[in-house]
Amino acid sequence: MDVPVHYWTKDPIQNFRVRVALRCVQAGGFVTGQHEDEDVDEFDKTNFDNTSDNSQSDVENENGDNALSSSSNSSSGDSSDEGDSSDDDEQEESLLGRQRKKNKKKHKKKKKKTQKEGDDNIMTSQHKRQGRSRKRGTAQREWSETFTWQEKKFGPRELVRYLGSEDEEGNAGMGRTAIEAEYLEQIARRRRFGEDLLQDAERVMLFTYTDKDGFVPKNEMTKFVTTSENFSLNPVAESIVTIPGTGGRVAEGREHERDDAFDGADDGDYASLERTSGTGEVSAGQRVFRESPFKVFYLMAAVDVDAAKLRSLRKEDGKFYEVVLCTVKVKRDGSLVEMQPGFSASPSTTAALRARTNDEDSGPPPTTWYRFKTPFGSLYEYSLINEAESLDPLLETEINTIQRENLEKVAAALEGRVPNALHDGPSAPNQIVRRVLVELVSAFDFDDAASDYLYVQYEVHLPTNARSPWTWFNGSREPIRGVTQTARARFLTRFDKVEGDQDTERRRRHTAHYCFPLELSFSQTVTDALDEIGHEQPKIFFQVKSRDTWERHRTEGYASVLLPGAAGTSFHQVRAWKVSGSLRQQVSEHFVGGALQLDSSMYSSFPQTHQGPFLNRYGFSTQTSGSLHVRINTVVHRHVGIADAAALDARDRELRRTPLQQMAGISHHSAQSASTGDMNTSQGQQRRRTVADILQSLRLGRGFAGSSAAASRTAAAARTGAGAGILASLNRVRQQQQQQQQQQE
């Protein structure tokens, strides 16, 4: 019963109708033999009827042990509806009993015992009276009300507040919120029209709290999350639970001890209705918003109301028990309705049964009655019946189709912005285009004795043998050369995770930053798949040179990177070496510079003059110098014909369709056919209606009592028919506005 039930709906705001039927199972004055926290759904009604008379004393003992059920003590009696003359005595005694209860909160057991003894007399007298009435038959009086979404009906507490305050000096403006002012005005207007708001005041009143009221049920305020005795909410929880901006006002009061948790109206509660002046609560509440935006609607019942006392508008005398029958939450996007507890009978069941039996009244009795107990000992049960218009299945399919088509139109529009073809690709099926994005990131660890200023010359060489399939994208085979800027190296920390870098500690290295992007496009002609890998790959050669203030250029290192054939992103940390020549050359290099240079940088891989299978570098001595950090992105572009590409796209779209779409057989819009699809729908728009049209026609039909559903309303609904008419016209206006907006779009 504590689990909220969720419903999907197309139109909860307009279409939400719930009928609350409440009836009294057991009038008060009894100790029922059940503990407060037991699941009353399992309560056996027949058992109760038979054994209640006999089990008085047993039950008392049980209740004496249960700390929580102090409220079920029979110290107070609901005898007001009997209209007995000893009413006032009852009330006073009940008041006494209550006060006694309040005074001895800490010593529950002792108090119970004294109360029991003291109250026995009262109890037995009440019991006899109640027994008489009970024997007349368990009260089958049923109260029923129908509510639409956010329909405000005033409860007894509010009536007393607003009517009562009006009788006073007319407290306009003092400590009133906007809501209060609005309600005051509403009530004043209705009174001016002669409506007696208290005419319906009887033992049971069904009313609502809307989202604006800022009502928070007591169980949310006194939620016991731990076993600790201290159950006051911390400021964060309080600001989340209470509605920001209302000053944290809770209709049922906050400062309650545990055993008073089920106290209904009380003097203390009236006092707490005033806006709490604590600035801490207000400001905390305004800072924290509802986590997921929803609108809430509470269906309430005030039971055991003393109608006479209420009419007298005396705050001190009204005692009743306010209980939340149902909490309805609608998420902001309007399609998910969360109800706790849920509807008593599923709407489809009700509708189906209604259709089958062709019944004019409210249909078959609902299957679930929820129960609650009052502190006065009465037991009530209620049911929530969904009275929303159930859509004709044909209409529903139509609405579904329209919504789906709208979604697909949006998707197609987005799809239309994405181009279909990819240019600059291979032009023949045997051609592969590789795009290589080379980024020379930095050069580090070069000798800093000579100079800080380093620049890098690069050359990209395609393999030179005649059989090689590699060319540049424009067809030539000339190497590409270039040079970076001259960067001054500094001691900077290196963080990068480099492939194969054994040195993982971060330390400062002499680093020169280049971030030199280089975009290369190769074209490779292959005859078959094996041909892709069977050839020499292009390479990029780097020469790192340094330049000092005397304009001496020295070679700091040679490095080369093989451009990878596989697609992907790779990092390379390439070690460079420099030539170590004879002593004479080294001295010359030091003083003048430029002595130790290679003829061609290709020497670092295959020299141009190399022939034959054996590469001999004997006699060539080098010296290790710094490293280059190179980042390479490779993209491989193989040939796919346009028709093939389109076919593959279509197959992908097919696979991406949800099972629901597949089942419905809705045809998908492709980017090319989006235009033709638009033409179809523009023609079809003349005969297709929008969702709003359909719903509006439903409402208009409903307003004219054309459907059988209209005739099946209960008297309670008819009473609020005036209000419903206003609501219907409001709905019509809203629909027209929406239509206008849609037409503008």
Binding site: V441, V483, A487, C515, A567, R631, H637, H639, L648
Partner: protein, 178 residues
Amino acid sequence: MPEGATDFEKTNLFGKFSFVTGNEKWTQLDGTFAGQTQLSEAEAFQPDLVAWNHPLDMHFATTTLDGWPKFCIEVWHEDRYGRNELAGYGVTYVPTSPGEHELECVIWKPQGSLSERIFNYFFDTTSHLDHTDVAYTTGDRFDLITESVGSVHLRIEVLQRGFRNRGVEFKSPPGALA
């Protein structure tokens, strides 16, 4: 997203970034393609790292693989007198292979002549590039003499759609050809 900047000498840094594509065949579908991070100050005991955590989200559509987008950033710093001055330029390619990448985009700033450098030292200014395109392309780089400053760290996730049906491969599966 640019996670932060490291190793700058100055500690109050913000970045102006943009995504530059090579040519007009790339269309920007959705998202913010240029922006500026907040000004962030390095922690007292770890002056190396300046954290931005600026989120990026953008969608491109293209008809060619030419002109793959590059992430370009200018790092600026604000000194205690409230003056904003350039700290450096940096550019790096958006990775082509799908998945998550952690990149280090290195930053350099132009260096002027000796007299300009003395001036910059005393007045806490920097030489700027005349056209920032030079920072993002390679044509005129050899003209420059630059100085290396710190680096900017990025974490980028790349997703591609529609390329596979047109024969483009961004990441070879392990064990694939070559």
